[in-house]
Symmetry: C2
Subunit: 268 residues, 2 copies
């Protein structure tokens, strides 16, 4: 069941992630640039949806991007090559068994990774181990509990909650965005600063209506139809009405809200 | 039942509103200043919690502040006098029966008012009638559906929902913040711009933990204990656990999120 909804494992999902990154790229990434010559570990790069942005925004940094899935690393290599980027080294590796000596990197970056891990604090601790003292960690996560919309709909809210429940059953956490501060605290980082990045969409923003409400969020929930119905979380009729109600929020009088959280902290 | 929870009718509630205004004043009001000599109608000023800020930020504007409650107007007069403000005229008046000729004001301002009205579009239309062409309306509202926190708690979420339900039964709408764009559209305003103002609170922000999470939000929900229990919306045990869980989010590893919405639009 896990692999039917975890990001990055089928072509449509890949496209959705790329759409998401290009729609949200400014909101999420504008303030992350690493200095010339600095070494950066991108942990959990998946198919490279964020890697291209990261490398483009820090052309002088030396970026090492890892993912636990060898298949994703192959895709990420293609994405990086297609973008003509040459400051990224890609390799298959596990956050919990990092093949790097202690204090190997100036900085660590991870985006949409912790939500999939059953031991996020341990992951952050493992990453802290390979950062130099004074180096930073940057973490970006969504939070599906931050979703609300107009017109409101119990069906739509329940459909969104299917994703939260499926991710919890796969030992992930779709509500992790709000918890970045305590997670980084527990992992022993200092100078933690959390910056919420709210996506507010009304019909005065047609690019976000199309690129976020419909193609990113509603499409993601639509994508978990099969496991949601198979798990008996909702009836087919109710789920489909929830999806219709999500798309309804993309009409002229609709509003859609979602919040990402970006945290930056220092290894003391 | 209405008067047991509607803002501004008892001393403790007044203090809470004043606390709220002084804690959130920068977040909500920093970008509202009216030019020297401009005439501004503040509709629904209540006990003057926002009036003092409004007048202080626009010392050259001529502000007329109205409220439907004569008792609130008396309190607002005291607040304005205590602050040494002399550019505000206070009077009792009803938004739906405004005692002003058409196009009397350069601008209109209202804050935490529409949430209490069963006919928000009609209220906005009535206010539009007294604004000069090219003048603006500024609207600020909260949205209790934007509330989420860590640690998450079903009891706390249900306690918050009691407020939503009580306000709905009083023909108000505690979820109105997200709907400002469609409401202003329906009332015929143009150039509508909605700006969400998210309050994100973790323990690195002790003033907000104290001033917002505890003294504003948790205190507000605690304040509807009696009508919530009397209405049978929650059992006493569950409600009290919800309140305890809300205060729990103010501890060192807790996080609290809430979003206000501020809209500005033009009468064409």
């Amino acid at each position: 069941m896990t692999s039917t909804y975890v990001h990055g494992y089928d072509p449509r999902e890949n496209r959705r992630l790329q759409d998401q990154a290009s729609t949200l790229v400014e909101l999420l990434h504008w303030d992350t640039t690493y200095p010339e010559g600095s070494s950066v570990l991108e942990a959990g790069c998946g198919v490279g949806a964020q890697t291209v942005t990261l490398a483009t925004n820090s052309p002088g940094a030396l970026i090492t991007s890892i993912d636990v899935s060898a298949a994703s690393v192959v895709e990420a290599k293609k994405a990086v090559q297609a973008a003509g980027i040459n400051n990224v080294t890609l390799r298959q590796a596990d956050i919990f068994h990092l093949p790097f000596p202690p204090e190997s990197f100036d900085h660590v970056f991870l985006c949409f990774v912790l939500e999939h891990l059953s031991q996020p604090v341990e992951a952050l601790s493992a990453l802290k181990y390979v950062v130099k003292p004074g180096g930073t960690i940057t973490v970006i996560e969504g939070d599906h509990g931050s979703t609300y919309f107009h017109p409101d709909s119990d069906y739509a809210r329940r459909a969104v909650h299917c994703q939260v429940e499926l991710q919890a059953r796969a030992r992930g956490n779709a509500l992790i965005g709000r918890a970045l501060y305590p997670l980084l605290t527990k992992a022993g980082f200092g100078e933690i600063h959390v910056s919420p990045r709210m996506v507010y969409v009304d019909s005065s923003k047609p690019e976000l209506v199309e690129g976020f409400t419909k193609k990113t969020f509603a499409a993601m929930i639509e994508g978990i139809r099969k496991p949601s119905l198979e798990s008996g979380l909702m009836s087919e009729v109710d789920f489909d009405r929830g999806i219709a109600d999500l798309y309804r929020t993309a009409e002229a009088d609709g509003v859609f809200c979602y919040t990402f959280f970006k945290a930056r902290a220092v290894k003391n």
